[in-house]
């Protein structure tokens, strides 16, 4: 087992090993350790580190590096990611891959520095203008963060899309032991610009927008089919299925074991990828156990955001009349007692369903 390492730093090192040639970013708490670490690590390996003058500059550097077919990373937190949305939307239009780390902090506007999942809907719905989705990975441990960002670049290049790794200040700042993967050989994507002019010039006129949209949606459907990922436990006999991702997800992994030992028939779906949402987890649950009486999300935000996805995919898979509840805590790590007390209220009929 490795030594204690901070989530932000472990994830940065894993991106280095995945073969990033450039990091460009602008610092913001609670993501800054990623950047601080890379400011020394990248030059040490003869790679490029740029502290840009703004988030806008950072995302446009990312766009340029990606256009050259090279691996590139930027990291920020909620407010900084907001500023990068224009660039992200443009990159999606241009089919340019990149990996973006969002170490989410609570709130609107400046918000606060607390760990939270308040950016869930923004990240899973695209975030900028247009009709696109980013693939969103939601690690729950430092090791999972390392493993997921290492793989994120392959996924991004496979579909030529943006992959967001969404952690929070909790996972970013906490320390846990982890093991690093091996260094990847640095390669260039075959389609990357090489200085010769081979791409047909485009403009607003004479385009077949329906065909462009159809082509993009074909890709989206392929991603939906191939990239669902989740962890499940206790679903065979569960009357209540908890659904939680990221930090609340790891909390629930331990807590459902305890709750089951206390005689509660509870199970867990922990989405590891939150877009595309694990539709198949609900389909498998329906086939295995049609007797589920309720879904309960555990989230760190105001009134639940992922609950919307749970309700949609429950309905899609034949659980249309099953109530969906949200147990929320605005920020921090959900406390075991808080979850248990809220669960008891649901069982007693004292807490109303959201959907």
């Amino acid at each position: 087992m490795g030594d204690m390492v901070k989530g932000n730093i472990a994830i940065a090192e894993a991106a280095v090993r995945a073969g990033i040639e450039v990091y460009a970013g602008y610092p913001i708490t609670p993501s800054t350790e990623t950047m601080e670490y890379l400011s020394a690590r990248m030059p040490e390996l003869g790679r490029t580190f740029i502290q840009s003058e703004s988030e806008l500059a950072a995302i446009n550097i990312v766009m340029g590096v990606s256009a050259c077919g090279r691996r590139v990373l930027t990291a920020s937190s909620g407010p900084g990611i907001s500023l990068k949305q224009e660039g992200i939307s443009y990159m999606q239009q241009l089919n340019l891959p990149a990996v973006i780390l969002n170490v989410v902090r609570w709130g609107n506007g400046l918000g606060s520095l607390d760990a939270s999942q308040t950016d869930y809907l923004r990240e899973t719905r695209g975030g900028g203008n247009g009709d696109y989705r980013n693939i969103v990975l939601a690690p729950s441990t430092v090791q999972e963060g390392v493993d997921l960002i290492y793989e994120a670049f392959d996924i991004a290049e496979k579909y030529r899309t943006i992959v967001v790794v969404m952690t929070d200040s909790g996972l970013g700042q906490m320390m846990e032991p982890c093991e690093y993967p091996d260094f990847r050989e640095i390669t260039k994507c075959s389609w990357g610009l090489d200085g010769s002019y081979s791409v047909k010039r485009g403009n607003f006129l004479g385009r077949d927008i329906q065909a462009e949209s159809d082509a993009y949606i074909t890709k989206v459907r392929e991603i939906r089919e191939n990239e669902q990922r989740w962890f499940a436990a206790g679903l065979e006999d569960a009357e209540c299925v908890f659904v939680a991702a990221g930090m609340p997800g790891r909390v629930m992994e331990g807590l459902i074991e305890e709750m089951r030992a206390e005689g509660n028939k509870v199970g867990l779906i922990r989405p590891i990828i939150v877009w595309p949402y694990p539709d198949k987890a609900f389909a498998e649950l329906r086939a295995m156990n049609p007797n589920v009486k309720g879904f309960i999300t555990v989230e760190t935000n105001g009134e639940g955001q992922m609950i919307e996805d749970v309700a949609l995919y429950a309905k899609k898979n034949g659980f249309g009349m099953v109530p969906c509840y949200a147990i929320t805590q605005a920020c921090g790590v959900p406390k075991d007692d808080m979850v248990k007390e809220a669960f008891a209220k649901i069982v007693r009929g004292e807490k109303k369903e959201v959907f």
Binding site: G170, Q173, M174, M175, E176, V251, G254, V333, D337
Partner: protein, 179 residues
Amino acid sequence: MREIVFAGFGGQGILTAGLIISQIALYSGNNATWMPAYGAAMRGGTANCTVHYGEGKVSNPGQQKPDLLLAMNEPSYKKFQGIVRPGGIILYNSDMIGELPPTKEGVTAVGVPCNTLADEVGNPKGANIAMVGAICKLLGDFEYQAGIDGMNDMFRKKGKNKYEALNVKAFEAGYNYVG
């Protein structure tokens, strides 16, 4: 699974004390997590972190019901004494907390003059390490040598082993004080 909350002023080595315990735990073959309270922390402000360790996976790394609270100053004692689990321990810095405010029922308070101990062994910056020694002894999870080895291993890897002898003395002073 153990939970320890470390709290005090910024600059008292609170976060480092937590990290040393978590590294000792790893060194002894456990799993561990370390989570800082995150805010506008600075020297003289308040700082705290929560460490969990044990054989299995640590599912909840947050602050819940600690088995032990290390309170390096009075505000920390007042703020966190209420969350210590029944049967738990409050280890407090008796150099900075004079008259102890009332302790929760079922919780044992143990005072250690860690600044004095650290001064006496010629390592005035090692008050936090003296408390790490006291924690190892009070909880009984790590033998004396395992504690020393785990701590030294951490500082060696950080390239800070020139203070090794002094750190061992501070650890020993705290360990023996509660023994």
